[in-house]
Symmetry: D2
């Protein structure tokens, strides 16, 4: 069809890549030009994913052999640390929407510190736009590389940015207690991700410092204008999809939960993918699972504290969905093109 943009997905055998593949197949203006998957090169996608039988998809190609010529846009869904040279090779040829962490941190030293190796495409890092769509869409339109935010940062920043920007809360202390389903860890072959080790239990992890901390602090500092530290603790929940993030903040003298509610309602009143629930409502991940929606809630704590809650689907608004939303921005399409699904329940 002549009115479809050809796109490629690199890392199409992982959870985020396969979710993007599903989204592209439902998108009325995109078509698959190529699917890249390192270990699976040469395999027809339906051998790995019987769910795509009858879809007439191209076999997976090796990432290194992938040629971006002819692609309007490339979704890069590779593990962090592996994308820099690939993106550097593609960026001059096609727009790149990257879901890894590789282009999110503007401070190259911070990147090296948290990810354990110097950045190999520093020039691109400086051009890359941090693609939290609702707060970055203008900057993204001309960018060659869009660094999609992490799932946890998306869930923390959506409620925090407006109230912090409006001066309604203290910049410290901010406690971010986040609970995620297992797919956030990808399809990694790790013993602690086996069904027998995950189901019927919950645990915290990353207590020594999770890599999403500097990303969250970087974006908060853009609003506060100074270093802003957060205590961020992720937890693993026995479910496939969904993040529920509970943020505990100190309201500025005089500010009430009602003020925070009004601030968020105002900030997101025109947004398709952010819903501010009525006061006191508790967002539930099940109500956003399978959709690109983020649900926000506000409640009153004790002693001047306020609670901000955000629920989203980590594979959609937290990864592939936001990537597609960003692709729509980049390609000049309405943001919800191919993303209009309501949540999938039960």
């Amino acid at each position: 069809m002549t009115d479809r943009f050809p796109v490629a997905i690199l890392g199409a055998s992982g959870y985020v890549g396969a979710e993007l593949l599903r989204l592209v197949l439902e998108h009325p203006r995109l078509e698959i030009a190529a699917l890249g998957a390192k270990r699976r090169a040469g395999t027809p996608p339906e051998d790995l994913f019987p769910r795509f039988r009858g879809r007439d998809l191209p076999v997976f190609v090796d990432i290194d052999a992938f040629d971006a010529a002819g692609c309007a846009l490339v979704f890069c869904c590779l593990p962090h640390g592996t994308t820099q040279e690939t993106v550097a090779r593609i960026a001059p040829v096609a727009r790149v929407v990257d879901t890894s962490a590789d282009f999110r941190l503007r401070d190259l030293d911070s990147y090296a510190e948290w990810y354990g190796a110097p950045h190999k495409a520093a020039h691109l890092q400086l051009q890359a736009v941090y693609g939290l769509t609702e707060h970055a869409r203008d900057a993204m339109r001309e960018a060659s590389v869009i660094a999609c935010p992490g799932c946890y940062p998306t869930s923390a920043l959506l409620p925090l940015l407006p109230v912090l920007s409006a001066g309604l809360i203290d910049p410290e202390p901010i406690v971010i207690d986040a609970k995620s389903g297992v797919s956030g860890a990808g399809r990694s072959l790790r013993e602690d991700l086996l069904f027998g080790e995950v189901s019927e239990g919950i645990r915290a992890y990353g207590l020594g410092g999770h890599r999403h901390t500097p990303e969250i602090e970087q974006e908060l500092a853009r609003v506060t204008g100074t270093e802003t530290r957060v205590t961020f603790v992720p937890h693993l929940v026995p479910m496939n999809r969904g993040i529920l993030t509970s943020v505990y903040v100190q309201a500025r003298a005089g500010a009430t939960a009602g003020d925070l509610q009004a601030c968020l309602e105002d900030a997101y009143s025109d947004e398709i993918f952010v819903q501010v629930l009525p006061p006191g409502s508790a967002p539930a991940t099940r109500e956003v699972r399978g959709s690109n929606q983020a649900h926000l809630g506000v409640a009153t704590g004790r002693g001047g504290q306020a609670i901000l809650l955000c629920a989203l689907d980590n594979l959609l608004k937290g990864a592939a969905g936001q990537a597609m939303q960003n692709a729509n921005v980049v390609l000049g399409l309405p943001e919800d093109t191919g993303l209009a699904s309501s949540a999938f329940a039960p």
Copy 2:
């Protein structure tokens, strides 16, 4: 939009009804005219289902107050035993696609026996078409009432009808061992459906005779031309969606699993929503969850037995999806309109 057919959904607060609502919202040629829900009349749908916030839906109306005038088609998703008078009232005004059991059994005595009360709309029962789409689409085009098959019967009949019709298996014994997720029981307030009673366990139920037995036997008898009995045992699996049905049959002398495989491939080669997997493949419910697909598999047993397997999403191909497929037939649309989603994973 003038090119959309107005449709109503009765029973829109249940699992099947809400799933149809989700499907209608993604369908390019339908629009919601009314939503009926007995206990929830007067409630905006987003109060019950926050996932539909921003969708601008009409408030639920009482089933008895619902007026079908102006509707091209009405999806009736009410509990069995409650639909007969409602459907009788609507059928002269609008086409009805019914997901209950009320119009599935042609034998009115059998209905009374299995459902505990005489049928209240006998004249309609005789006109109703049993809507197993792949085997009934021609009969449905002019029908005023489509009785969508039960989830278990759909999963048993899709593999059985072709091979029985071709004389490749004995009509008896047929063992149907079916495993279903919890949503098949609807959103019923029953202690045995509590999370604490379902998770981390599996159990058989309906050992004294499940109501889907006569429905399966009725449709098999159409092919064999005589009474055909099946031993059908359903099991409850700790998951939300999905049915996996394992059917154990005796191959007729000389017939091999390969013959059954070829027969099924031939029967469904032109079907969009039935995939016959390669020989020996085991269908998995996760590969069809969220899609309208049925995946079939064939394997060899011992002593001349063969195994037919079918996986489908009980709320889609087993209920709302097949209802929509049937609505597309009734309305003269391509069968997969609004139903093209791939399975949702993980």
Copy 3:
């Protein structure tokens, strides 16, 4: 056997009561004298719980008909609001270990406010001992009524009491973000507890103020000597058992996570049922599920914050297990009698 204490369990058909029944059956020094269950009176326990077949248990008796004469101790596991008159009737006859909330709040006005009705056994309330075993065993030895702590309060108080008592943290702000499995809500017939509504999702609840808040604040105030407010937010996790509580505190000037770790290790070094994990370890509910253990962990936050974590089995250390531990204290038995099971995994 003459060396066994006869005990009764009231509310034996609920999750906590049935768990106590299981524990009593494994206890070498107790024997069942009676089982009370309001709605199930007259039923043999194995009809409700096939797992107790062959155990030769007495049929359930009505709570009102229950006579405590001859019982050394009565476990009362009834819903809050229903125990006061029952306990008042039994207390003069037999020691009572109560797992409801009815005797936990010393302030009768606070009870009336949070539970919606005046207390009907005020005299007993004043005598009742709040049975957080590790902090109350001496007071319990002679008490006629032991009010076992709630599951959430147990998980918050075990890590907080020692460090607050030692002056290592500020009394405010304290944020308690708790995650619980579904059994904490009991076997209530509520739509939001259906498998189809709980699995594959997480949500916060009780945002307007959960009834465990005053209980936590009451016990903290005993240590601080003044009103001490906490922001407490519970979350419902798709699992049967387990609570993981993450407590965020501000360390007093100079105090480090290492100091908190040392304080907890010192406080609980002689305890059988409290394990302080090595620094930086993340407690996991799966490692305590099925046991009476609480696992504590300490980690460093940003900006002077510290994180205290506690994992326990809400039906054991959070309810029936702690009740049995208290019964052992009351009866002069070693605290771990009948409670030595290791966690049950996977």
Copy 4:
């Protein structure tokens, strides 16, 4: 303690081995002499399993370095194919209770065919007793090697052996449709066992022939006196523990489900660990989870068929529990010593 038998567990880091460790710690007459774990040699058990903190356990030793001298009995829980030389080394020194498949098949050719390599301890194979306790306790008392049955065979043989032996059913066709939790596959690092690949789905596997087939057929042939073939299809259920096996048989002329029921009740009337539920009852894995019980049920099918059902905990009656029951037999202790736990619920 002088009256405890010292025992060792080899393979103590796997699911079955760790379950045996838990059982030994609750057993009043056994004590741990050594724990063997190949990959984990040198590690304290509590580093791998925090649940065993405070238990004062010996560090894991390498299997090859393990010396059985001084052990009354050795539980061998290693993967099949790896035990033959180990068991051959130990058997002259200590009684061996083996939970692998290595000593179950009396026909050495069949072993080689199904397990892909010739047997390396043929002399022991011929002496080994197949330890389905209720049907083998006399033979076990003097045996040097007890080969504990597989989890699936246990669940199929318990209901089948008595009715086949009594001539109440035809020896063919027998269909065994079994559903198992994930722990049956052990703690293997396989992509298809990840939480994200198992939860919310069910699938059949082993369609080409599961290794438990020859084991079931071997034991049935002992009763029928001739080759007896079964169609056995296992399914993977999203839960940790439990097997529910539905067996479909043809009743011999004149025999009813009532006859089968009476036969099973008679066969197991004196057994502690086999409960025959009332007619028409559906066994549920949750009612046996955490216990060494097997629950049997009988129901009537159509066309002369009968349905036999069995629920058990695959890690207990299907593995570690039956191993302990056998150890009690071997050591001359009451069979339920240390095994009296009721099922763990929810």
